[in-house]
Symmetry: C2
Subunit: 244 residues, 2 copies
Amino acid sequence: MSTLTPKKQAIQDREQKILELARRMVLEGGYHGLGLDSLAEKLGVSRGTIYNHFQCKEEIILALVVETMSKRRDMFQRAASMHGVPRVRLAAIGVAAELFVRLYPDHFRVEQIVKSDSIWDKTTEERRMLVRSCQLQCVGIVAGVVRDGIAQNHVSLPEGLTPEALVFGLWSMTEGAYSIIATSDSMAELGIAEPFQAIRRNIHHLLDGFGWTPLSTEHDFESSMEQIVRDEFPSEFARLKQPW
Amino acid sequence: MSTLTPKKQAIQDREQKILELARRMVLEGGYHGLGLDSLAEKLGVSRGTIYNHFQCKEEIILALVVETMSKRRDMFQRAASMHGVPRVRLAAIGVAAELFVRLYPDHFRVEQIVKSDSIWDKTTEERRMLVRSCQLQCVGIVAGVVRDGIAQNHVSLPEGLTPEALVFGLWSMTEGAYSIIATSDSMAELGIAEPFQAIRRNIHHLLDGFGWTPLSTEHDFESSMEQIVRDEFPSEFARLKQPW
DNA sequence: AACTGTTTCTGACAATTTGTCAGAAAATCC
DNA sequence: GGATTTTCTGACAAATTGTCAGAAACAGTT
């Protein structure tokens, strides 16, 4: 049941190759960097063949996003299931998010492109559902850790603020920060020498603002996070170019 | 010296009309919604005439972004020069930022498009400089208020954290939040019923985390912000569709 | 009003690029 | 080895961007 005919296998392999090539092209030149003619040539097939795999160019890009989001969700899941107090597990998810954008900057960039370009109309409902589902899962994983923190009396949210609203804050800050970093060609010019460190510290202070114990004044989260990246994400850590 | 010939005046007026029409088209269909053929037709001129105003399509879009950023900078400037303690002035800038995205969602969306699409290569250095300059000014305005807070001993930043790094945190959170709101078609489904309120509260908690007095537990910033929007931005307030 | 040099406008043209589809080629089955 | 199904190709249509030589409109002068 799992063995495919050689032909079917070749087709399946090609789909992966299409996505790999497409990602590189989108990374280099955005939406317009992805030319189906050029893609087909690089792949050694005709353009028609590509349309056997994907209904249109937009579907290829959305497929890239699904890959990206699944990858992030898996890393989040790994981080959230770590041992430790909720606030450290939340820090672990932060580590995962940072590792993700630093190791796969091209993934993040493709996500950005999809966000703003109006490509959604042309895509299939099926694939859009996949994107939405990944998003919900990511929020759910983080909200779960927040609920653990509440259950263990490490934090108590003010009246009317749901765990999801706090997740929204964390999500917003990381999303916005990575987006600014990715699009601004000189962070130093803006007066921000080490943006990744700056964002980690801002996140700590946000959680401190909610009174989530242990506070960052009581616990050295910078060290914790460095340990997490070494222990929980060893292979990813090894592939980092810049030091943590 | 300031009176133009009727013809020159007409040309200048047309440039504004091009931008107005272009913004509407980009808003509706993103980068591809802006077709120069259709734009020319709506304007009652030929496509060649449009190329007399702008070197290429990308220049039009970047011109839209310059309009947007100038508008925001002016609102920030107005908010920052308000009377009051620094933390309230910072809240006023928050009000300005929120007002801006709520009153001019199309402006924000055009900014998003420019961010991810790779249109920068084709644009002129001159206009890119304008964008960069607006960005620096916005950061500078906010950082100035942060410095005021430090000078008045209302807050003291931890070792190694510059005012710009704190601004980066505020900027990231608002930017990310608005981006998520703009692209996610159902915030409610994610468990966030009132995203704008959620983000205001997250910002308050972030500043609380830095120990910036008055803390949000000591001062009712929600009321302050409502008062600011009424007093300092009366015309903008009147144009809000949804209640504050 | 007529003449003249300049500015502005037009629309046909070339160059790209996306998506389609009838027929060719290849693979699979019996 | 022949029949049937699947897959692939490349020519075609349609849309869109940017160019430019010539047409039209304008402004200044006599």
